[in-house]
């Protein structure tokens, strides 16, 4: 193994506290650290100032504090082609995409990793809350120790070859500790607010953003049996299990989105949180990635269907075309096509895929869209 001082680690720096501390820790450990800011989205605010400039300025400050070189790289075109196009296509198809999973797969751990390697890097490090463990000749991805912060859900598409080149120095730390390290070291970003939401939308209004790219087609909102309940503003604005923004008044339990009919442009709604129509007992997933070895037989494990959800017990069976059927041990609420399903055995993330079909009583639930 190379000496740490001869081991070059490129740190993907966003200007946030997590990636700042990532760079700090690696520098303290003695690596040859290089900070790189990635620009994936062209965004100018109302004063004509590019919003990335401020974040880059924070990268500059932190890197100068750490005495490491810093650079920027532009992946706007790749991001548009690989992530944003997918994002819009999924919405057009009436599904709820997960651009972060795609960004990690196609940009951060592909285009950006390639760029890092072209700079002579031995490793790429990011501030993700996840851990990599080498067992014999294989790499495993483990959850971050901070349960609330664990980001393996978004990293489920990483391959063995990617994991062999990746470091997640924050994986063994609770977020609180990361903030503490940042302020103890007076990092310029110590008190910076965490970013929220989808990166390219930021804190803007989601509906407004989406309507700039996809024409909204308002239509009818009905129960599954066809009783009209009002109008919807465009199917893409709604996701399964959603309560807010339906505008249905009246007595009784609150209303929830239970499905979509793309062909008829109808949004299906039903009453009460625990409405039976929100529940299903299995799903079919596509685009599977298995981090250790491909699934050849049925296994029992746990799964997450959304970020920050607690694990559910499932049975996973390989079916045709590399897909899997995931059977829930207990009925699950509001499983949403387009989102990721990610599998775990204890602390180890096994991989994941995209939720494609929802199943109830052995039959596809067509109304979820």
């Amino acid at each position: 193994m190379k000496d740490k001082k001869d081991t070059r680690v490129v740190v993907g720096m966003s200007g946030g506290v997590d990636s700042s501390v990532t760079a700090l820790l690696l520098k303290q450990q003695g690596y040859d650290v290089v900070g790189i800011f990635m620009k994936n989205w062209d965004d100018t605010d109302e004063n004509g100032v590019c919003t990335a400039t401020e974040d880059f300025d924070d990268v500059v400050r932190v890197c100068n504090q750490l005495d490491i070189p810093y650079y920027a790289v532009n992946f706007e075109k790749q991001y548009w082609d690989k992530v944003f196009t997918y994002f819009l296509d999924e919405y057009k198809a009436g599904r709820t995409p997960n651009p972060d999973v795609m960004c990690n797969k196609e940009i951060k751990f592909k285009a950006f990793l390639d760029h890092a390697l072209s700079l002579g890097a031995d490793y790429l490090a990011t501030g993700h809350y996840a851990q990599v463990r080498k067992v014999n000749d294989k790499y495993e991805m483990l959850r971050g120790v901070d349960d609330n912060k664990d980001q393996t859900y978004f990293l489920n598409q990483l391959s063995q070859s990617v994991l062999s080149k990746v470091m997640f120095p924050l994986g063994h730390l609770p977020k609180k500790e990361v903030r503490k390290i940042a302020s103890e070291n007076n990092l310029a970003t110590a008190n910076k607010k965490d970013s929220t939401g989808i990166c390219f939308i930021g804190e803007r209004n989601f509906k407004e953003f989406l309507s700039e790219y996809l024409p909204a087609q308002p239509g009818k909102m009905t129960t599954l049996t066809g009783v009209e309940q009002g109008k919807h503003e465009g199917l893409m604005y709604y996701t399964i299990g959603q309560r807010q923004g339906l505008g249905i008044g009246g007595a009784g339990d609150p209303w929830f989105v239970v499905g979509k009919n793309l062909k008829e442009n109808v949004l299906y709604v039903e009453q009460s949180f625990h409405n039976d129509h929100l529940y299903s007992d299995a799903l079919i997933a596509t685009d599977l990635n298995w981090i250790n070895e491909p699934l050849e037989k049925t296994i029992d494990c746990t799964a997450k269907f959304r970020y920050r959800q607690s694990d559910s017990k499932v049975t996973v069976t390989p079916i045709e075309d590399g897909k899997v059927k995931v059977t829930f041990h207990q009925a699950e609420r509001a499983i949403t096509p387009g989102q990721a399903v990610v599998f775990y055995q204890g602390e180890v993330c096994l991989g994941g895929g995209t939720i494609d079909e929802i199943i109830k009583n052995e039959k596809p639930l067509d109304y979820v869209g």
């Binding site: 790189i36 070189p69 650079y71 920027a72 790289v73 532009n74």
Partner: protein
């Protein structure tokens, strides 16, 4: 790896002799040149001496030199000052598409103020076509501004020819000579210019100083208001220490110009030859026979500026590109776009290497070898 500085067109190391004259000045001569007492007189004397040296270096009269905070301010003063003071005579200004942003952005500002600005195109060799200029001149034209040497490609513009054309035209002629000064002999009468911009830190002087030559009887407004300094053209207490350092830099470059140019020319040759020997795929931007010794702009097909500059820096090579990279946004070079068209890959895969006092022949060979290694590696990676 030992860092090698090939970015002298951005800025130059301050010459040790310049430092040597500045330090005692900062320590001892703190008087205000406008004061009537002993302390002021001493500073005033030094300021006058410096102005004389600056004037002599371009064959000008002392009173034609206005010290500024640098090239950008001098360009702003030339364009806005002339436009404002002469708007009753006409509202047309001619410049080129390849000017430094200090000129281009000022011209855009003047457009917003109601002036009509013509931006002359350039040929593939990087030079403007003087017949284009002739065709654009009108009775309304009050100012023509053409840089003497382009900062990205080093291409020399036909300033003397333009000066001759404008000799019997009413328009004033300004030239930004920031990249020419110190490399080419410049005489304001031979060139036929009315205004000329020069910067100190490009000739191994300190940053924050420059001058604008303004020919006698040229009608120009000032951009700032205050005291009587610089014939009211540039009020504000003079940067005496900076100016004295600038003066020393001028004296040195006047004395050593030929020798410096010769060594830069051999650096340039050596650099290109080493790349050729290493069989690197590259193209020189612009006509190398019409460029200054210190600058060469090279396109590396199959690469991009971001990767090149990052890799160069990580292996100790300091160079730059005309493509502005800020926070990850790459703006293609406006100069190379003007020469080759905005879709040409040269606009995003070209690097400017600029040579100077910080270099030696060994450095140049070493640098070219590092460059060729990186370029080959990047091209192979992309091929894969």
């Amino acid at each position: 790896m030992e860092p090698i500085y090939l970015d002298h067109a951005s800025t130059t190391p301050v010459h040790p002799e310049v430092v040597k004259v500045m330090i005692p000045l900062l320590e001892e001569v703190y008087g205000n040149p406008s004061s009537i007492h002993h302390f002021g007189r001493k500073a005033r004397h030094i300021l006058d001496e410096s102005r004389k040296v600056a004037a002599l270096s371009i064959g000008a009269q002392e009173k034609s030199i206005t010290f500024t905070s640098g090239g950008t301010e001098a360009d702003n003063l030339a364009l806005i000052g002339i436009a404002q003071a002469n708007k009753h005579r006409g509202n047309h200004i001619i410049t080129t598409t390849i000017e430094h942003h200090a000129t281009l952005h000022t011209a855009e500002f003047l457009e917003k103020q109601g002036f009509r600005v013509t931006y002359l195109p350039v040929l593939e060799n990087g030079q403007i076509n003087v017949s284009d200029l002739k065709a654009e001149l009108t009775d309304e034209t009050i100012l023509v501004s053409v840089m003497a040497v382009n900062n990205e490609t080093g291409t020399i513009q036909p300033i003397e020819e333009i000066g001759a054309i404008l000799a019997d035209h009413r328009a004033y002629f300004h030239s930004d000579a920031v990249q020419a000064y110190g490399l080419l002999p410049l005489d304001v009468d031979e060139l036929g210019v009315d205004l000329l911009t020069v910067s100190s830190h490009k000739i191994n002087g300190p940053k924050g100083v420059g001058f604008l030559y303004i020919r006698d009887k040229v009608v120009i407004d000032s951009l700032q208001f205050g005291g009587q300094q610089e014939r009211k053209r540039r009020p504000g207490t003079e940067n005496v220490a900076g100016i004295v350092g600038f003066k020393k830099a001028i004296e040195l470059v006047d004395k050593e110009r030929e020798q410096r140019v010769n060594s830069y020319q051999s650096y340039k040759q050596l650099f290109i030859e080493t790349l050729e020997k290493d069989k690197v795929d590259f193209k020189i931007n612009g006509d190398i026979t019409k460029s200054v010794a210190a600058i060469v702009n090279i396109s590396f097909p199959g690469t991009n500026v971001e990767s090149l500059l990052t890799n160069f820096d990580l292996s100790g090579i300091a160079a730059s590109s005309g493509s502005a990279c800020t926070a990850g946004s790459v703006e293609p070079s406006h100069v190379l776009s003007a020469m080759y068209g905005s879709e040409n890959p040269r606009t995003i895969n070209s690097i400017r290497f600029s040579f100077g006092l910080a270099n030696s022949e060994d450095d140049i060979i070493d640098a070219a070898k590092r460059v060729s290694m990186i370029v080959k590696r990047l091209v192979n990676q992309i091929d894969k």
